[in-house]
């Protein structure tokens, strides 16, 4: 009898806590088009796999009449579960409890699950939906954030860390997502900023809406803080599951291997790239024509479009693709595209994912704005990332590889393992027009018909240097291949480099230009 009454009491306590902030606040949450924290966790994890910890944690604030207040779970739900059978650690801030505000115990729950994730070497997924620091808890709240940021940093490169922004994430709180590997946002729901519209209006007199300041589109398209954009929470969870499927659980493992599947569009590969190097095409079509099932999972799809990054599989094994995109900004490297690619390459390297690079680059973007924005130091990041990466690196030059762009895009000189070029590849110090204008300047200027001479000289240069054979003659590329052979060559390269092992010189850490 005594036992059953204890169990009944336990059930009552638990039922109460599971309601979170209660009916009214839950209704409010729904009215904003948002799911509750618990609904989010169930939507994300395998059915029935979620195991919760610290449900009975209570806040420790006494000031400002906080002592009497009950905050179920202290505004955050933490636990472990599985996604497609693979273990993950999860926390989800509960906006229905004190606006998901972060107090000391709230942060302790998060850091506990982060510690589990790190020591048990499983991915961490954090669902952010919080009004920010719990002001009543003062510096304890700041301490909480600091402890989280510190763990994000320790875990970086050891376990994949994913941040999902499903509500406000403002002030210092943004720095946890910023330190993680992938940030997911949902249209009209995610809001991220350091200082909000109110502060901006007060101190700067500028009026801006939350959406225009730090909405999902802003971070996907302008700031580059977000990696995946979704129209709904449902779509967002599907994206997270897909990502988890592509990546390993930690830095000592390789991603899971699936059964090889031929690309659906393999037969189209010969017709994708126009011969004329000034004409655009969508490089994603090339990736799809070589990837298993033509499945390409693009990262940062709407930011810095002149470079394309994302995951795919070759004969069942995950690969990270990096490709210049002639469709957008002619495929140049600029401040944003360099940063985008560099970070992605480092993720792949940290988690044992081979990097496959498709090159079609005219060079770097000219402009005072680019130079002043630090194109030199941002551009250097891409050199650093390729050079530093010890995973298998396979590069295919599809068409143009001019000048500094040739060097930067996974060239032999940055220790690519295999470099292939299509027959129409132009590997040269610059495009024929620019090169002819410099090299034959005198002849062109002194000619009776300068335009005709220029045309002839451009043609002369094109014939002599705008091809893959000069580079091949020095061994800078390993083979000239037909477009239709690309998948075969990549698959073979991955097979032979599977046990690749090289050591970087011993050091505490390198100093990439950031």
């Amino acid at each position: 009898m005594a036992l059953s009454s204890k169990i009944r009491e336990f059930h009552e306590k638990r039922e109460k806590l599971l309601l979170g902030g209660g009916e009214q606040t839950v209704e409010k949450q729904k009215a904003m088009g948002k799911r509750t924290a618990r609904e989010r966790i169930s939507a994300l994890l395998d059915e029935g796999s979620f195991t919760e910890y610290d449900l009975f944690v209570k806040h420790v604030a006494h000031d400002f009449d906080m002592g009497d207040k009950s905050l179920p779970g202290d505004g955050v739900i933490t636990g472990t579960g599985t996604i497609d059978g693979s273990p993950v650690a999860v926390f989800a801030q509960d906006f229905t409890v004190a606006g998901g505000s972060l107090g000391l115990m709230h942060s302790r729950k998060i850091t506990k699950i982060m510690d589990h994730a790190l020591k048990m070497r499983m991915p961490l997924i954090g669902i952010n939906d919080s009004g920010g620091a719990r002001i009543q808890e003062g510096v304890n709240s700041l301490a909480g954030y600091g402890e989280i940021f510190f763990r994000n940093t320790l875990s970086s490169g050891v376990i994949p860390q994913i941040s999902v922004i499903l509500g406000p994430c403002a002030g210092g709180a943004v720095y946890s997502p910023a330190l993680t590997d992938f940030v997911f946002v949902v249209d009209n729901i995610s809001k991220m900023f350091i200082t909000g519209p109110e502060v901006i209006k007060t101190v700067l007199g500028e009026e801006i809406s939350m959406e225009d300041l730090g909405g999902a589109r802003v971070h996907s398209e302008i700031s580059g803080n977000a990696h995946f954009f979704a129209g709904s929470e449902e779509e967002c969870f599907a994206q997270i599951k897909k990502l988890i499927g592509f990546i390993p659980r930690n830095n000592t493992e390789k991603a899971g291997v699936l059964t090889s599947a031929e690309p659906l569009t393999a037969h189209e590969i010969d017709g994708i790239v126009p011969d004329d190097p000034t004409l655009p095409y969508d490089v994603r079509d090339v990736i799809k024509a070589v990837a298993d099932n033509s499945d390409f999972f693009e990262v940062m799809e709407n930011f810095a479009g002149s470079i394309v990054i994302g995951f795919g599989r070759i004969e069942g094994r995950t690969a990270g693709f990096v490709a210049n995109q002639p469709l957008e900004m002619a495929g140049v490297l600029d401040v944003d595209s360099s940063d985008k690619a560099a970070r992605f390459i480092r993720f792949c390297d940290a988690f044992n994912i081979p990097v496959i690079t498709f090159v079609d680059i005219p060079g770097y973007l000219p402009g005072a704005d680019q130079e002043h924005a630090g194109l030199i130091r941002h551009g250097a990041k891409i050199l650093y990332s390729y050079s530093e990466a010890t995973v298998p690196k396979i590069t295919v030059i599809l068409r143009k590889a001019y000048g500094g762009g040739y060097i930067a895009m996974g060239s032999r000189h940055l220790r690519a393992d295999f470099v292939f070029a299509w027959p129409a590849a132009e590997i040269a110090v610059m495009g024929p027009e620019g090169a002819a204008n410099i090299i034959f300047r005198k002849e062109i200027m002194s000619s009776a018909d300068p335009e005709e001479t220029r045309r002839q000289k451009i043609e002369e240069y094109r014939k002599k240097f705008a091809n893959p054979y000069v580079a091949a003659s020095r061994g800078y590329i390993d083979a000239v291949i037909e477009p239709s052979e690309t998948r075969k060559f990549i698959a073979h390269s991955l097979k032979v480099s599977e046990n690749k092992e090289i050591q970087l010189p011993p050091k505490k850490h390198g100093l990439p230009p950031f």
Partner: protein, 105 residues
């Protein structure tokens, strides 16, 4: 998500490429060299005080006005020596970032 870029052409090292141009590229501000005789607002704020009058001779580094921004009173100093030719603001005016304030001739 709808694409905000538009069709265009881009010249890289003398070759003209047909491509889509990003919104960032289209909206980029053209470079303009700074005018060494023009005092501009470094930050949005309010003009608290103006210490000089048109026609007055000033030396480089002389305090010209006080701009309150983010609760700080910033003393704006003369970018050059010369005569105050024009004062574009009056006490109490709110100014945006980069607004012209005063010209030295």
């Amino acid at each position: 998500m709808k694409k905000t870029s538009q069709e265009g052409k881009l010249n890289i090292d003398g070759t003209v490429y047909r491509t889509r141009l990003s919104r960032k590229f289209i909206k980029r501000a053209p470079f303009s060299p700074s005018d060494p005789f023009l005092l501009t607002s470094i930050i949005p704020g309010t003009i608290l005080d103006i210490m000089v009058k048109p026609g007055q001779t000033v030396v480089k580094g002389e305090a010209l006005m006080i701009l309150e921004a983010m609760k700080m009173q910033n003393v704006l100093k003369s970018p050059a020596g010369g005569t105050v030719r024009m004062i574009a603001v009056k006490k109490g005016d709110r100014v945006g970032k980069g607004s012209p304030l005063l010209r030295i001739g």
